[in-house]
């Protein structure tokens, strides 16, 4: 019984972590697949979402849901400006330029955030409703994490339906598969890039705000979790929407499991597993080689 209970608990906590990872990373995967852009600064959008959400809640008394929404929309709008002004100039550039440029953005964001909010992690005060435990009949689960999983699943469903069923989604898929062909069919890929970029950044902001209690919002956020976001995208397969989901679940659950069961070597296992997996499939689980 103890074993089963521990296993359930690990899977549950792992899933909550995985959902946050996925919502943040999926935009990065699409940017990589669609524009071939190595946007290492993707975590900055998640961090911005986290800071905006916590500030709106703590200092202005905005309810959690509205704060999240406002943060996501603000970040998406800012990202449109950044994409038009800066990113779009580097679409054809080499990988090194993109990496350097986005690292530069991270450095600047670290400094700006430290200047405004100071070096300490942000306090996340959950609304009354989301505290404590939620009894699901057979056992009780922490309410916040249950909420996190439920909201994320709903979001993911909406995202997948949007990509599969809408005209916009079809255009995105067409452009990922064959950009030139899509362009010659009259799809405005420039606008598509901007919209997709904004969507991905908005989602990242949402993930940052939703997960603020899991991934602590601090100035080094974009560097600290970068390797996690990259692992999700690389293991899932660049450009894929579902691959990163599977990768995030694998990563989230196994990371939680090993850190819980063998804390002394917990962090190694995950890196070694990822390295092994990419040796076996260099293009990731769902990537096209």
């Amino acid at each position: 019984m103890d074993f089963v209970s521990a296993a359930i608990s690990i899977v549950f906590h792992g899933l909550a972590f995985a959902m946050v990872l996925y919502i943040i990373s999926v935009g990065l995967s699409v940017t990589m697949g669609l524009m071939g852009f190595a946007n290492l600064a993707h975590g900055v959008f998640a961090m911005a979402g986290g800071y905006l959400t916590t500030t709106l809640m703590n200092n202005h008394g905005v309810p959690f849901g509205f704060a999240l929404l406002a943060a996501a929309i603000t970040v998406a709008l800012i990202s449109i400006v950044l994409e038009r002004l800066l990113y779009s100039r580097l679409y054809g550039a080499g990988e090194l330029e993109q990496v350097l440029f986005t690292i530069g953005l991270i450095f600047m964001s670290v400094a700006v955030v430290r200047y405004i909010w100071g070096p300490l992690p942000q306090r996340m005060v959950l609304p009354e409703m989301l505290r404590g435990q939620l009894d699901l009949g057979f056992r009780a689960f922490p309410t916040y994490r249950t909420f996190l999983i439920a909201v994320s699943l709903a979001l993911i469903l909406a995202l997948w339906l949007g990509i599969e069923r809408t005209n916009f989604g079809a255009q995105v898929r067409a452009a990922v598969d064959n950009r030139r062909m899509a362009e010659s069919l009259g799809i405005n890929t420039g606008r598509l890039f901007t919209l997709t970029f904004a969507l991905g950044s908005g989602l990242a902001a949402l993930g940052g705000g939703l997960g603020a209690d899991l991934l602590a919002i601090n100035p080094a956020y974009a560097f600290e979790y970068l390797v996690y976001f990259l692992m999700v995208v690389a293991v899932g397969g660049l450009g894929s929407i579902r691959g990163p989901f599977v990768a995030a679940v694998l990563l989230g659950v196994s990371d939680t499991a090993f850190k819980y069961l063998v804390p002394e070597i917990g962090a190694f296992v995950i890196y070694i597993a990822v390295i092994g997996l990419l040796l076996w499939r260099p293009a990731g689980l769902f990537g096209r080689a």
């Binding site: 990496v99 390797v227 260099p282 990731g284």
Partner: protein, 331 residues
């Protein structure tokens, strides 16, 4: 791409002759010797700069010449630093054998990780360099019985070099020691990049498909240069241990990896001397500016990177080249 054949590039005859030593190449050495006499009170900063140049040179071999983008290069620097520290504590405080042991250890780690990660490319390769760095950082953190964990390795006592030159408190020996090591590394790196092997690396960077097509064993070449680069990075790490007589976990930090890339970009990649210029400019600026306002130091570094990528892709030396070409056209 940073390097592309263009009308501005030198004609073929010049490229064939490019291995010959030009008078300008003596300039850094004049500066290094001159600084020893001109700034006796800054020698410890000086030796830090010199060992950072060694580190940046090692990065230039893989990033500038072979085109391997890495954010985990401090892994090898750290392995070298820890190996030198552990060797000095438990086996012998003799520095030169310590350098050799550190280079071998770092080379071994470089070979092992190179065999794995160089099978991938692009973002995946970048992520794996990071994953390896974090892996090694974690090992150093957890294996406290040998590495000292978060406290680092303390109480390292170095013997005299050749049994003659004691590491003095003014940093004179450390400076000369670092400069001599840098000189040897530079000679070797210069020989390497102008050799057929070095030229084939540039070929791999510029057009990997063509290199495959003409029968170059691409992956083997990359693994070899990755291993060599790791050894040199390990030597730089060992120099840090020898000159500061302390090793902490920060030798394996992501910041160190990122900063060395920035220094190299700042100086100019794929030209050996970018490492000299970039490391010197960056570290002197850091020494002057960062103490006053460490937060905004990072802001300026970030802005500088963005500006370099947007406007000055060849770094400082690239700008110098442009200025010289412009002058030549005017005259």
């Amino acid at each position: 791409m940073f390097h592309r054949l263009s009308p501005d590039d030198p004609p073929v005859e010049q490229m064939v002759q490019s291995h010959k030593l030009r008078p300008l190449e003596l300039l850094p050495w004049l500066a290094i010797v001159g600084a020893y006499f001109a700034f006796p009170e800054y020698l410890s900063l000086g030796s830090q700069i010199l060992l950072t140049v060694v580190f940046a040179l090692s990065l230039d071999l893989i990033l500038g010449y072979a085109g391997i983008i890495t954010l985990g290069h401090s892994a090898f620097f750290g392995v070298g630093a820890y190996t030198a520290g552990i060797y000095a504590l438990h086996i012998s405080g003799e520095p030169l054998s310590g350098l050799v042991v550190a280079a071998l250890a770092a080379g071994l780690v470089g070979l092992a990780s190179g065999l794995v990660i160089l099978r991938t490319h692009g973002l995946t390769l970048l992520m794996l360099t990071l994953a390896f760095l974090f892996l090694i950082h974690e090992i150093a953190n957890k294996a406290g019985f040998i590495t000292g964990g978060a406290d680092g390795l303390q109480g390292i006592a170095m013997q005299e070099i050749f049994g003659q030159f004691r590491f003095d408190m003014f940093g004179r020996t450390a400076y000369v020691y670092s400069a001599v090591v840098l000189f040897i590394v530079w000679l070797f790196a210069r020989l390497l990049v102008h050799s057929p092997f070095g030229r084939s690396l540039t070929g791999i960077r510029e057009n990997v498909t063509r290199m495959h097509a003409i029968g170059t064993p691409v992956r083997r070449r990359l693994v070899i240069i990755y291993t060599i680069s790791a050894m040199i990075a390990g030597i730089a790490g060992a120099l840090l241990t020898h000159t500061t007589q302390f090793v902490g976990l920060n030798v394996l930090s992501f910041e160190r990896s990122g900063e060395i890339v920035i220094m190299l970009i700042l100086g100019g990649i794929g030209r050996l001397y970018g490492a000299f210029v970039g490391a010197a400019v960056f570290m002197i600026a850091q020494d002057e500016l960062a103490k006053a306002d460490p937060v905004f130091w990072y802001f300026w570094i970030g802005l500088l990177l963005v500006l370099i990528v947007m406007f000055a892709r060849g770094g400082i030396l690239g700008l110098v080249d442009q200025a010289r070409r412009w002058l030549r056209r005017r005259v």
